[in-house]
């Protein structure tokens, strides 16, 4: 039982064999993700290295941390899972109840108690000092931080996929947790031995993110964990059958609002992958806090209620007062089909421009309008006004077009960076005439611009189309295309500069033309 359909994976599916061996069963959390077996592989790689491999800490200590953190995050699924695991590991129920309620009063070993205090005061000097005073070494501290990250990953995942507890759910107690006295954040984790230059996980990370995010270079004490993290990211990022690689990278680094995803007409696979990617972002976000290692990975999800809740449970932060379409949308939701026609009339240009922007072909865009509006109609019952209707509609049009684009031209991606992304240099640097609009008729001008826009690569074209032609705000365009604001800004600039380049020959006074030069100094 979850929000996602379950697909039977053969008994030879290695992650399930691993879970069977380690947990004694395959938790529903993972069964809920069988639409995308590779994300289960990503999670299994990470969980095996962190939880199932005993190095500094033993399994019981790790489960104990996971149990207390699940209770603190009010996560019934994980609380029940770790409670059951600790029972299987031989811890009495009475003792478990005391640990969950207030571990400081549960007669835990000083080391385990110190580890728990550490994870609650993550990222502070105070936490590290206390841990050292209790005799915890760097290996133990690193493992505790990794377990804290894993806890956030599992809690985010379980709420995101809507996993139902595997056993009778435990009541969630009111948890007593220590808080740091101040937020005197640490600067960097101490033990970071140097790894060989050609250590494969680091090469992969450098290639994927441009440079190695600090959170990884702070874990060199455990090359096996780095290997597992790189493997997990490889499983997660490399395939593009649901979200594109760039979309996933954007979610990892900039976050996404999961609550709005289902409203945007994404497929189940895409929503599932966004949930998983967000969970990995949460994992790395906890790690970078614990290790004092920068802020490369986003944590857009709140620690509580971080879920794609079922429609009837969703909190409604309705923004109807600012959405001019709200009244019309409500009428459609009430069964008034004429109101949908009215919405179509209002937004036909916007939808068309989105489709042309991505498909690059007016005929196909006109054809795709039917798909886009029909999809919008089908999903409108679930639209709850978290974004403006027009933004939501553009995101549906954009997804419709991307799907068509992939079917038609698998090589042209909306998202992937061209290899020359950083190398763009303007070539046309002659001054333009003072009033370019006087040089051509309206029809000639339109034709010049349309030709120039159509020649832009799709990822720049669609952003320029939405921002400069359709006049959407940056945030609105980012939201509609499911991209981060930095990505939108970068693409917009690149699109504008390329268009400027294409138009320049038409607007440079004829006596002023000379050979092109680059910007050099």
């Amino acid at each position: 039982m979850s929000y996602f359909g379950e697909v039977a994976l053969g008994s030879s599916f290695q992650p399930f064999a691993t879970f069977q061996e380690q947990f004694g069963f395959v938790p529903k959390l993972f069964r809920a993700q069988t639409l995308l077996p590779r994300v289960i592989q990503a999670e299994c790689a990470l969980i095996s290295a962190i939880l199932f491999t005993d190095k500094a800490l033993v399994h019981t200590q790790k489960e104990c941390i996971l149990l207390v953190l699940a209770a603190a995050q009010q996560n019934a699924y994980c609380l029940t899972l770790h409670y059951q695991m600790l029972k299987l590991l031989g811890v009495a129920e009475q003792r478990l109840n005391r640990i969950v309620t207030d571990y400081r009063q549960a007669d835990l070993s000083p080391a385990t108690s110190a580890l728990l205090t550490l994870v609650f005061k993550l990222g502070t000097k105070e936490a590290l000092q206390e841990a050292s005073e209790r005799g915890l070494n760097d290996e133990s501290i690193l493992e505790a931080i990794l377990i804290a990250g894993l806890s956030r990953l599992l809690c985010t995942l379980s709420t995101g996929v809507g996993a139902v507890p595997d056993f009778a759910p435990r009541p969630i107690p009111s948890v007593q947790v220590p808080l740091a006295d101040s937020d005197n954040s640490i600067e960097f984790f101490r033990s970071t031995p140097k790894l060989p230059e050609d250590f494969a996980p680091m090469l992969f990370l450098r290639n994927e993110f441009g440079s190695v995010p600090k959170v990884f270079s702070a874990q060199t004490l455990r090359p096996d964990i780095l290997q597992a993290e790189a493997d997990a990211l490889r499983y997660l990022l490399l395939s593009e059958d649901a979200l594109s690689r760039a979309q996933k990278r954007d979610i990892l680094l900039a976050g996404t609002d999961l609550e709005t995803l289902r409203e945007r007409g994404l497929t189940e696979n895409q929503v599932l992958e966004a949930v998983v990617t967000t969970s990995f972002a949460a994992f790395f976000n906890v790690l970078q806090t614990g290790l004092g290692a920068g802020s490369d990975f986003a944590a857009k999800m709140p620690t509580k209620n971080a879920h794609l809740s079922a429609p009837e449970q969703r909190q409604t932060t309705v923004t109807t007062s600012v959405d001019p379409d709200a009244e019309c949308v409500a009428r459609v939701q009430g069964g008034d089909l004429n109101a949908f026609e009215e919405l179509m009339n209002r937004h036909s240009q916007r939808v068309y421009r989105t489709l042309v922007g991505i498909l690059g072909n007016p005929d196909e865009a006109r054809d795709a309008m039917q798909d886009a509006f029909l999809k919008a109609f089908q999903h409108l019952a679930g639209f709850q006004g978290r974004s403006k209707f027009s933004t939501w509609l553009v995101s549906i049009a954009s997804n419709t077009a991307i799907q068509r684009l992939r079917e038609r031209k698998p090589m042209e991606s909306l998202d992937e960076s061209a290899p020359d992304e950083e190398g763009f240099r303007p070539r046309q640097i002659q001054a333009w005439t003072d009033d370019p609009e006087q040089l051509y008729s309206q029809a000639e001008m339109r034709s010049l611009i349309e030709n120039g826009v159509m020649k832009l690569p799709v990822k720049y074209r669609v952003v320029l189309m939405l921002r400069d032609i359709e006049q959407l705000g940056i945030e609105e365009a980012a939201s509609a295309l499911g991209l981060g604001i930095p990505a939108i800004k970068a693409r917009l600039l690149r699109g504008r500069l390329m268009l400027r380049e294409a138009l320049a020959p038409h607007f440079i006074p004829s006596g002023n033309k000379r050979s092109a030069q680059g910007v050099t100094n």
Binding site: E341, F377, I449, D468, A490, R500
Partner: protein, 80 residues
């Protein structure tokens, strides 16, 4: 003193009017002596203006109407 490369890194925000006063001052100081970047800014602004002002990629009502009718027919038939 900022270079053309520094200027290019900020040109997007500058065109959007989204830079702090201090940065704007530095960028404009650069512009005061750099003809190349001045041309880039001027022609980029003109590009933006003509793109915004010229009604491009319009879908004529006469083209949209039959599409809308097809969509509504499909919706209505699905409802019955």
């Amino acid at each position: 003193m900022i270079t053309c490369a520094d200027f290019m890194a900020e040109i997007g925000n500058y065109l959007e009017g989204d830079v702090a006063d201090e940065v704007r001052h530095q960028l404009e100081q650069h512009l005061s002596h750099c003809q190349t970047c001045t041309v880039l800014v001027d022609s980029s602004r003109k590009t933006l203006k003509i793109v915004t002002d010229t009604g491009t990629f319009d879908l004529p009502e006469s083209t949209f109407r039959p599409i809308a009718e097809k969509i509504m027919a499909r919706i209505r038939s699905g409802e019955k």
